[in-house]
């Protein structure tokens, strides 16, 4: 149970933190001005690496604590997963390499935007495919190379790109001044409306196709607490955008993501891969979990959380556009 919590926290942190910096990566492609690009990068440069670490943490916790899920999911999503990693690696080095060169900068910028887009799209698609249920029989994936592919999954991929872009825009509003902030404010309503439209379509699709998830929504009415939180957060976000309160929109959009995450997690419960492998079935033997718990679990994990908090508080406040380089 402890490791379910650790895994959930790691994934949620990953989505929230890398979500905004992937979002910034996507928005990065919308502007050509070096000045703006520089400001955008400065807003995420100090923390992106720490953000991505949570993905690795989630992966190894998954392997250590739930080897069956690790083996089944990763092999099922073979191509998308490896492409996502290639995207993340490319965009990671682009941060550093783009400043080492003038002439070749466009390559790294392209890598940065492309990598961010691909990684985001694939993450969204993965969630979509999971909601739709993977073809699994006897604990073995049987879908073939492209078994995860479906219109619904693609839709979720696009949706997540919009979502992360929105989160990224809110982050920019929070961290930047001048041009970039104005531009981000201008984009937020469009992105929000697009995201809303997307949510409606996904919901309608799920109902129309009678996905098993919708069944669970009806069975567990308390689930609607989460969408309700989401709606309240969205309203507050809209209000704060209108009154230009820089700090607020990011937290509100983050809250929407938390609500969405909570909805998914609870509608899957007790399954880890819906609806074929439960947490109980997937868990590693007690001796493995205990070994991890007494070192990594109760000592290092809290320290990592603490460190994340500290590094964010060190870099709080606005990024000055006057700083010539980060």
């Amino acid at each position: 149970m402890f490791w379910v919590a650790v895994l959930a926290v790691s994934i949620l942190l990953y989505v929230l933190l890398d979500g905004f910096d992937l979002g910034v990566g996507i928005l990065f492609g919308l502007t050509r001005s070096e000045e703006r690009r520089h400001a955008m990068l400065s807003a995420v440069a100090p923390i992106w690496d720490g953000n991505e670490t949570w993905l690795i943490v989630a992966a190894v916790v998954l392997w250590g604590a739930f080897p069956v899920v690790y083996a089944t999911l990763f092999s099922a999503f073979y191509l998308p997963l490896l492409l996502m990693l290639a995207g993340l690696i490319l965009r990671g080095v682009a941060f550093e390499y783009r400043y080492k060169t003038e002439r070749m900068r466009w390559i790294w910028d392209a890598g940065f935007v492309g990598g961010s887009l691909v990684a985001t799209f694939i993450q969204g698609m993965t969630v979509g495919a999971l909601v739709e249920e993977l073809p699994i029989s006897n604990g073995q994936y049987v879908g073939g190379e492209f078994g995860w592919f479906s219109p619904f999954a693609v839709l979720c991929g696009i949706g997540l790109c919009l979502g992360y872009a929105l989160l990224g825009a809110c982050w920019l509003v929070r961290k930047c001044e001048g041009d970039v902030r104005e531009e981000a404010y201008r984009l937020i309503p469009y992105l929000s409306i697009a995201l809303l439209a997307f949510l409606v379509v996904v919901f309608a699709y799920a109902l129309a196709e009678k996905l098993q998830v919708t069944q669970r929504w009806l069975e567990r009415p308390y689930l609607f607490v989460f969408p309700a939180i989401g709606v309240i957060a969205a309203l507050l976000a809209a209000e704060s955008v209108r009154s230009r309160r820089d700090e607020v929109p990011f937290y509100m959009v983050a809250l929407i993501f938390v609500a969405a995450f909570g909805t998914l997690a609870i509608s899957f419960w007790p399954y880890m891969i819906p609806f074929s492998i439960t947490i109980e079935e997937a868990a590693a033997p007690h001796s493995s979990l205990a070994f991890m718990f007494w070192g990594a679990g109760i000592i290092v994990f809290p320290l990592m959380l603490l460190y994340t908090v500290i590094s964010y508080s060190v870099f709080r406040g606005k990024v000055r556009p006057t700083a010539d380089r980060y």
């Binding site: 190894v60 392997w63 083996a71």
Partner: protein, 473 residues
């Protein structure tokens, strides 16, 4: 089961791990060397140590960054390509790898940050302590990886339950005698890598007649370290041979190029093994030496490959040659380190340009030795993934297609070569520029999570340099 997918998966793993191993082995050695430098600086107060420290810290930053980036894939690859292995050995390998990640993250998080940006903010002893902690962190990382791999070489401390390896004795896993000869072997290899790269850089500057003081420190310390460590490495190499001899006789026979039982056994120095005819061509061998190396005896009988069923034999050619290349590199390093140390002791090294050239050109040797040594161990383990229990062919994801595997292999070849080329060029530029007059200044917005950012150093104005010099007399 798709045989091509199996081969491609093995290629992909070999390619990505070879690419990755270069950087950690370099940074483990460098971290240890930085600790020694910082300690010397603290004791003697010589500013030159500080300069050399700052210079290598930058190189460390880039190499560390590349190591992190190339390592991301490793955490996923077990699940994507080797899902049967991942499922069966997850209860043992998963926690070991989790410890590695947690340790690495923690190291990266705290002490490396202090190294980069905390010089002015913490007392000198604490700075030294942080350097030592970074070195300890990289070492621990290596420990967890070696624990993982050693368990695959000689699995211990488990019971089989429901088709999975369930750990029943973690102490056995963590204190496996195999791990405790392989881990020091890897550690020493990393230290040698650091030492030779440092010595080679020093030799380069001396050949160019630049940075005289710093170059002398690098050359002297690098070669002295190496002169002591190379023989110790030889000893641990021998211990490694012992474990292979005892636990993996088929691998041992392949490395030795021994096809048939012999009593007393000869040691093959060179040959072209012929797996078809089960014999060696152009063989040069020394009688009795094989028994001496294998069992410390003049009369022992040593097993040959034909004792094993063909399906249980490892490939012969690769382990046979990679092992000899590794030993060859070791011999050359021994000669360079000893000759160089002797000349330094006699104060004649700077006049002996031949030896400076030799030292300079020897920097690839430790890398080659590490890669070939790793190939010997891993290819020699075949056809098993978990030795004697799980075959590689059974460990691969059963439904993986050749098309998917070749796509990912091509993607990673392209991405890695791209990154590797730039990264190496970048380290080269740093080394060429040399240590003079540049100090890493804490930058207001740079942070520890971005090791590569440390290289965005500022050129110091003469005034600032005087201040820096005054600060650290």
């Amino acid at each position: 089961m798709d045989l091509t997918a199996l081969l491609l998966s093995r290629l992909q793993f070999a390619f990505t791990v070879s690419f990755h191993i270069i950087f950690p082995s370099f940074t483990i050695g460098l971290a240890a060397w930085l600790t020694v430098l910082e300690a010397l600086h603290l004791v003697t107060g010589r500013p030159a140590y500080r300069l050399v420290f700052e210079f290598w810290l930058k190189v460390f930053g880039v190499a560390f960054g590349l190591g992190v980036v190339s390592g991301i894939l490793m955490a996923f690859q077990f699940g994507t390509n080797w899902s049967v292995l991942a499922r069966m050995s997850g209860p043992i390998q998963g926690p070991l790898l989790a410890y590695e990640t947690f340790t690495a993250f923690f190291l990266e998080a705290s002490f490396f940050g202090i190294l980069l940006f905390g010089r002015a903010r913490v007392p000198p002893w604490f700075y030294l302590f942080s350097t030592a902690m970074v070195a300890l962190g990289t070492t621990l990382s290596a420990f967890w990886i070696m624990a993982n791999n050693s368990w695959m070489q000689v699995p211990v401390g488990y019971v089989m339950e429901n088709g999975a390896f369930v750990p029943d004795d973690w102490l056995k896993i963590l204190f496996s005698p195999v791990l405790w000869v392989r881990f020091p072997h890897m550690l020493l290899a990393s230290y040698l890598t650091g030492a030779f790269c440092v010595a080679a850089t020093g030799a380069w500057y001396l050949l160019r007649r630049e940075f005289h003081t710093e170059a002398r420190i690098m050359l002297k310390m690098g070669l002295f370290f190496a002169a002591v460590l190379v023989p110790v490495q030889g000893l641990f190499g021998h211990f490694n041979g012992d474990y292979v001899h005892n636990y993996q006789p088929a691998k041992f026979a392949a490395i030795e190029g021994r096809w048939h039982d012999q009593q007393p056994a000869a040691e093959v120095l060179f040959a072209i093994p012929d797996p078809e005819a089960e014999t060696n061509h152009f063989q040069i061998a020394i009688p009795v030496l094989g028994s001496l190396i294998g069992s410390m005896s003049f009369t022992s009988k040593e097993a040959g490959l034909t004792d094993f069923r063909p399906q249980d034999r490892p490939p012969v050619i690769i382990p046979f040659f990679t092992f000899r290349i590794m030993v060859g590199c070791w011999l050359i390093m021994l000669l360079v380190a000893w000759a160089g140390s002797y000349l330094i002791y006699k104060e004649r090294i700077e006049q002996t340009r031949l030896l400076l050239w030799l030292t300079f050109l020897s920097f690839p040797l430790p890398f080659i030795a590490i890669l070939t040594g790793w190939y010997t161990a891993e290819v020699g383990r075949q056809p098993w993934t978990v030795y004697g229990v799980l075959r590689t062919a059974e460990a691969v994801t059963p439904f993986l297609t050749a098309r998917a595997a070749s796509t990912s292999l091509v993607v990673f070849c392209v991405v890695y070569s791209f990154i590797f080329a730039f990264g190496t060029y970048y380290i080269y530029r740093l080394l060429r520029a040399g240590p003079e007059g540049r100090l890493v200044l804490p930058q207001p917005t740079a942070i520890p999570n971005r090791p590569m950012s440390v290289v965005d150093e500022h050129h110091l104005t003469p005034a600032a340099r005087r201040v820096a010099a005054g600060e650290y007399p």
